[in-house]
Amino acid sequence: MTHTFAALGEFGDAINFIFSSRENQRGAPVGGSHNLPLIWEHLKLCAVAMAAALVVALPLGLVLGHTGKGSFLAISTSNVGRAVPSVALIALFIAFLPGSPEFLNVTLALALLAIPPILTNTYVGVQQTDRDAVDAARGMGLSGYQIIRSIELPLALPLIFGGIKTSTVNVIATATIAPLVGVVTLGDPLVAFSVYGREGQIGASIIVAALAIAAEVGLSAVQNAVTPTGIKLERGAEGRARARFGLTKRRIQTAP
């Protein structure tokens, strides 16, 4: 196994690092199965941060979108969120909350990064639901909660999952710099060159990239699965009508 990928040069060494463990110069075991705790810590951090972000952003986006209030907040949070670098956010938590555990600090920073795309996409998704459908539901005597639950939420799901997808990929990417502040994720081989060597740096990068692509592909499939058939049909028809009649609607930038 060790020499199987040797022909590929440094990438071969990196792939070897992913699949087979070895001892580093100091005699500590690295690579292969020793990557699993790193992957586990990475996924745990991302899952907790995403859960925290969803708990905040989803209800807030639904309510703001339903009432039509706070459009400035919902839209501009996304623009501000893009401008604040993830490093700075993590550093802020470390510098201003020195006493609290690192894992909590990084989780909070990642959750803050994950909120804007979900909030904006949920808001826009709910806002863009067919007003006729909402009026019809209201006419049938549905309460506000029922309208959100059975009309606006299902129709907004494609955009909501678009936001969740963007946030997840972003969080997986950003969790890579957590080792700089003491949370040992998959980024550890990247920043601790002396422990893992170059094959560790490149090997761990391959794993991180694979995780991000897997999240993107998996959530795209979910996004596609939860898109109501009616919306898919309408999207095709609307696209054709727009091209034909040149209807240009003011578009709000949302995450893909």
């Binding site: 470390i94 510098a95 991000a212 993107e216 040149g246 578009r251």
Partner: protein, 236 residues
């Protein structure tokens, strides 16, 4: 002791308290004023890397979008390919490029360019698709060739959407450039990590990142306003 004297003592205390403020890890304006110089080089590196990356990314993505405008079948494969580049975390990209381009700003720029492609390509394509068919027909009726139609009718009308993409690309790249220190290319991220625990440092370096993003965003917006005088006329 009179109150006035007490107040005076307090003021004196603060003005001479630079070192104790730094020691107690507070937010120290005096320290910031004294150490302003140390952020100059990282800031300039940050600006250079951002502008170079966005410029190269724009040229490539714009060219791809024009190519796909004529040959519609190219849109899905280009979107998928640039989508993969967009998904690969930039930190991972820095290290994946190590065997090919080594450490330094070349690696950083390649990774940053790769990240901007999808954003700009998607917005140029959306902008061109949104051009009203009547405008195209009118252009054709005036005898414009396909090339003239593109540059005189379609691209000007697509400009707001194109510039919106450029704005997102710029702000995102400013954020990502704060990670290029991992590829050995400096930038404000290096300044942040040079002293992660020190509040004044984190606030200044992080603040400069945000400020840079806002300033560049406004600059692009300004260029857009200059390039689309007709939107101002319509708003009046």
């Amino acid at each position: 002791m009179s109150l006035a004297l007490l107040a005076q003592l307090k003021i004196q205390d603060r003005s001479s308290a630079t070192s104790s403020c730094v020691e107690s890890n507070g937010f120290c304006p005096q320290w910031i004023a004294d150490n302003w110089e140390r952020y100059k080089t990282p800031l300039i590196q940050h600006i250079e890397l951002t502008l170079i990356s966005v410029a190269i990314g724009f040229v490539i993505a714009f060219w791809l979008a024009l190519l796909a405008h004529r040959r519609r079948w190219l849109i899905p494969p280009i979107t998928q390919f640039t989508g993969i580049l967009y998904t690969i975390p930039s930190v991972a990209a820095f290290f994946l490029l190590l065997p090919l381009t080594g450490r330094g700003s070349t690696t950083a720029v390649i990774a940053l360019v790769a990240y901007t492609l999808l954003i700009i390509f998607r917005n140029v394509t959306t902008g061109l698709d949104g051009v009203p068919a009547e405008a195209r027909d009118a252009g054709r009726g005036m005898g414009l060739t396909a090339h003239q139609l593109l540059w005189r009718v379609e691209l000007p009308l697509a400009l707001p959407e194109i510039m919106a993409g450029l704005r997102i690309a710029v702000t995102t790249t400013v954020g990502l450039t704060s990670l290029v220190f991992l590829a050995g290319a400096g930038g404000l991220g290096e300044a942040i990590f040079s002293d992660l625990q020190f509040r004044s440092n984190v606030v200044v370096a992080g603040g400069l990142c945000v400020l840079l993003a806002v300033v560049l965003d406004l600059l692009v917006l300004g260029v857009q306003t200059l390039l689309t005088p007709w939107t101002r006329a319509a708003a009046r």
